[in-house]
């Protein structure tokens, strides 16, 4: 009797144990990280905005792994080792490539720079506080020759997440004053009361082409008010 009982215990135990192996998957451990770049410089984007997608062949059904971009243009995804295809999604401030797949070999932690072609870029940006005013200086560069300019904007905000969606102040540069490749100045005007009293605020510049739904931004910069 005792023998039989032990047998049943052993058999059921082994079934349960082996079941565990089928049920449980290892969590992905490898990190694919990197940033979207243009001419070696990271391309900052809107927070919770443009995305990348990873796909993997070899399975009967396909579903994308969405890779979210930080606002400084960096990204990171936890993956398994393997071959992936990386796609730059079109709802972004950069040109949609006809064939935009990048093959990525992930073996251990991998770093990747994803090249993109923004319609416009901003360079040489600087901010200066003068009285109650923030003055931004910048140079607008056209990258895609067929693109048209829609907005050049200065954003001021309370938090480090400052962009077209989250901001306290937005000032448009008059488009007829924009000369490509030459320095441009945008003045914020007097700061509103809710910003004036702060120790510091954040500033950012954005530029939008009529061809895109998203803005190309500069990196967020902290400006001390006191």
């Amino acid at each position: 009797m005792k023998f039989k009982f032990l047998m049943i215990l052993a058999i059921s135990g082994s079934i349960l144990m082996s079941g565990c192996e089928y049920d449980n998957f290892e969590a992905p451990e490898v990190t694919l990280s990197g940033k979207v770049v243009y001419q070696g410089r990271a391309v900052p984007v809107r927070n919770n905005g443009p995305q990348l997608e990873l796909w993997q062949d070899g399975y009967p059904l396909k579903s994308p792994i969405t890779v979210y971009l930080n606002q400084d243009g960096s990204f990171a995804a936890k993956l398994f080792d393997g071959q992936y295809k990386l796609v730059r999604r079109a709802d972004a401030p950069w040109l949609q490539q006809a064939s935009d797949t990048i093959r990525v070999e992930v073996r251990g932690n991998t770093n990747l720079e994803v090249p993109v072609t923004p319609y416009f870029t901003i360079s040489g940006e600087s901010y200066q506080k003068s009285g109650d005013n923030i003055i931004a200086r910048l140079v607008v560069n056209k990258v895609v020759q067929s693109a048209n300019l829609e907005f050049v904007r200065l954003y001021l905000g309370k938090s480090i997440l400052t962009d077209q969606v989250q901001r306290e102040v937005r000032v448009d540069a008059p488009l007829n004053s924009v000369v490509l490749g030459q320095q441009l100045q945008i003045s914020s005007g007097a700061l509103p009361d809710n910003l004036k009293s702060l120790d510091y605020i954040y500033a950012r510049l954005g530029i939008k082409s009529t061809s895109a739904g998203e803005y190309y931004y500069t990196q967020v910069q902290k400006i001390a008010l006191k």
Binding site: A90, D91, S211, A212
Partner: protein
């Protein structure tokens, strides 16, 4: 041994007797309806159609309380578990609709009607066929306006087990091909539908024309306004995007259909001399001849809970829910003054001081009567009872007003008069308006309509004459014809404006008329999409008054000795439950196609941006 013989004999008897009574076993099932019965019985066919009519798709319509709070016209003030409606962003799949189950059901029915209906006469058969095709056209319209060109499947797709599924893989049609298909179908069936002309709940000739009027207007405006975008949204294969050259033809088709309805047996609802109440009655009562096609409800049979969801706080008849839809300030301000001036409320004077009004509703005086018919605002009635909307009191203190609200609704202030009304508004509260406004349109005033036991039975208008007037006006305006003005002026005259209140039309006037006339009727999302301005109006900016739902709170002035004492002032505010500005991206113009659809059919092209 003897026993065995007896057994054999008995067995033989049993078997033999069983054989004779074959028909006894072969009885008609009482629980299954055979194809032969179904396709030859007009009553059964009508109930089959009732099933299909009930499945007609909608995005924010048919009393979809939640959907109505996802745009700029209103926010969600109901239970907190759905506060995501105030804190979300249109996903790439927003509005996705891909219902080939329903298409297949209709196609199957059409085929069975041909092969199995032998005892129906030709007129019956034609009518059923036409109704089925109407439903199919309606479903395709719902798909094309959300997804762009979709596969046009008009027959059952049956797998032949050959190992080759390619015959089942239908590619997407071009966007204009779907609109052309809808037009062709409706033109072909409208004559057969005349038999239904006395019905408002089954498709008739004018229902087909109304769908034609709407669908062709959509096609025309997509053709025109998509091409006017700096970078038109399109795919190389034309699955998305209609060539600009086709716009005039579509507008013409829409105008022709609209005019055929306007010259038909319908009339703008005008039964109540009170223009505001008249606008409310138009959809709440089932009389008159404004509504062309409706989804009907009946007590005890088919009911809905729109009144339960949205009854004004102080008049609830049930517990747990009320006041879910809170219309926005920008929506209220889109109703202009009867003298023609823009509807911006005059809450402060040029130097920024509050303007005090004697009555709490006085700030809304002299407005488009449709405001009364659509929104419950301070100082009005519902169910013949005055509403009690007052946010709090404004106490004069050291040179400025201090705005205070009571913790409990309906409490009196220290001066013995009302502090915060029983209808709020109250910021950050549940089941009471957060914006200062309630919805009146579609909220039934029938007794016990807002209880869950009885529920409401007012109907849902799929098509009504008011929309057809505005369709006609827009199409005529786009074609550069002057007749559009008359249509808009008749709509406005019904809303209390003097006759011929406008002397010229602009796109902005037409667009605003559609917003106020057709509010909460499942038009706004699609209207903004087809005009290609959704990404401008709902630009996601937290400081944009259009993208953000705001409220207007009225306060009673406590300032003894001053002439303003006891009067009312108003404060614009942003409800704290409203968390994120409406943000419509270019990717939202066409919803993304589900990954399993793409997996199953490699011929399906993705939509732009997603």
């Amino acid at each position: 041994m003897k026993k065995i013989y007896i057994c054999i004999a008995l067995l033989a008897c049993l078997v033999a007797s069983g054989c004779k009574h074959d028909e006894w076993f072969d009885r008609e099932s009482k629980s299954t309806i055979t194809d032969e019965q179904l396709w030859n019985d007009p009553k059964l066919l009508t109930s089959l159609l009732a099933n299909y009519y009930n499945r007609l798709p909608t995005l924010h319509g048919v009393f979809n309380t939640g959907g109505m709070t996802e745009l700029d016209d209103a926010m969600w003030s109901g239970h907190r578990d759905q506060n995501w409606r105030n804190d979300y962003q249109f996903g790439d799949d927003y509005g996705r609709y891909w219902d080939y189950g329903l298409i297949r059901d209709v196609n199957l029915s059409l085929e069975n009607l041909e092969t199995q209906s032998v005892r129906l006469d030709a007129t019956q058969k034609n009518l059923f066929r036409a109704e089925l095709r109407f439903i199919r056209a309606f479903v395709y319209f719902e798909m094309v306006k959300r997804m762009g060109g979709v596969p046009l499947v008009t027959k059952q797709l049956i797998y032949d087990f050959s190992g080759d599924p390619t015959p089942l893989q239908v590619p997407r049609a071009k966007e204009y091909e779907v609109y052309d298909f809808i037009y062709r179908e409706l033109e072909e069936i409208k004559a057969d539908l005349t038999a239904n002309n006395s019905s408002k709940t089954r498709a008739n000739q004018y229902t087909a024309l109304a769908l034609e009027s709407r669908a062709m207007l959509y096609a025309g405006s997509i053709a025109k306004y998509n091409s006017l975008m700096p970078n038109p949204i399109s795919t190389p294969g034309g699955e998305v995007g209609i060539p600009a050259t086709m716009a005039a033809d579509y507008y013409n088709k829409s105008l022709t259909a609209s005019k055929a309805i306007i010259s038909g047996p319908y009339a703008l609802f005008n039964e109540n001399p009170d223009k505001g109440a008249n606008f409310y009655d138009m959809l709440n009562k089932k009389t008159g001849s404004e509504v062309i096609f409706a989804k009907d409800f009946a007590p005890g049979v088919k009911v809905h809970r729109f009144a339960y969801d949205n009854i004004i706080k102080s008049m609830t008849e049930d517990n747990e829910s009320s006041s879910t839809i809170s219309p926005s300030l920008s929506f209220v301000e889109s109703f202009s003054y009867l003298d023609g001036t823009k509807g911006t409320l005059r809450d402060k004077d040029a130097s920024g001081n509050y303007i005090a009004y004697t009555g709490i509703g006085d700030i809304f005086a002299g407005r488009d009567a449709r405001l009364y018919g659509t929104v419950i605002y301070p100082g009005t009635n519902f169910k013949n009872n005055p509403v009690r909307i007052q946010a709090g009191v404004a106490v004069w203190n050291n040179g400025s007003y201090q705005l205070t609200t009571s913790a409990e609704l309906g409490k009196n202030y220290t001066d013995g008069q009302l502090w915060t009304g029983f209808d709020g508004p109250k910021d950050d509260a549940m089941d009471v308006s957060n914006t200062g406004f309630y919805i009146r349109k579609f909220v039934s005033d029938a007794s016990a309509a807002s209880t869950r036991g009885t529920s409401a039975t007012n109907w849902w208008p799929w098509f009504r004459l008011g929309e057809v007037y505005l369709n006609a006006a827009e199409a005529a305006f786009e074609l550069g014809r002057a007749e559009g003005l008359g249509y808009v002026n008749s709509i406005r005259a019904r809303a209390g404006f003097p006759a011929n209140s406008l002397t010229a039309l602009t796109t902005d006037i037409i667009r605003n008329e559609r917003r106020v006339e057709l509010a909460f009727e499942d038009h706004r999302y699609f209207d903004l999409k087809r005009w290609r301005i959704a990404h401008i109006v709902w630009d996601g900016s937290e400081s944009d008054p259009n993208a953000v739902v705001r409220g207007l709170y009225g306060y009673r002035v406590v300032r003894p000795g001053h002439p303003d004492n006891g009067k009312y002032i108003y404060e614009r505010m942003r409800p704290s439950r409203f968390r994120r500005a409406r943000f419509f991206r270019l990717a939202n113009y066409y919803s993304s196609i589900a990954q399993d659809v793409l997996n199953n059919n490699p011929k399906i092209v993705r939509n732009p941006f997603n």
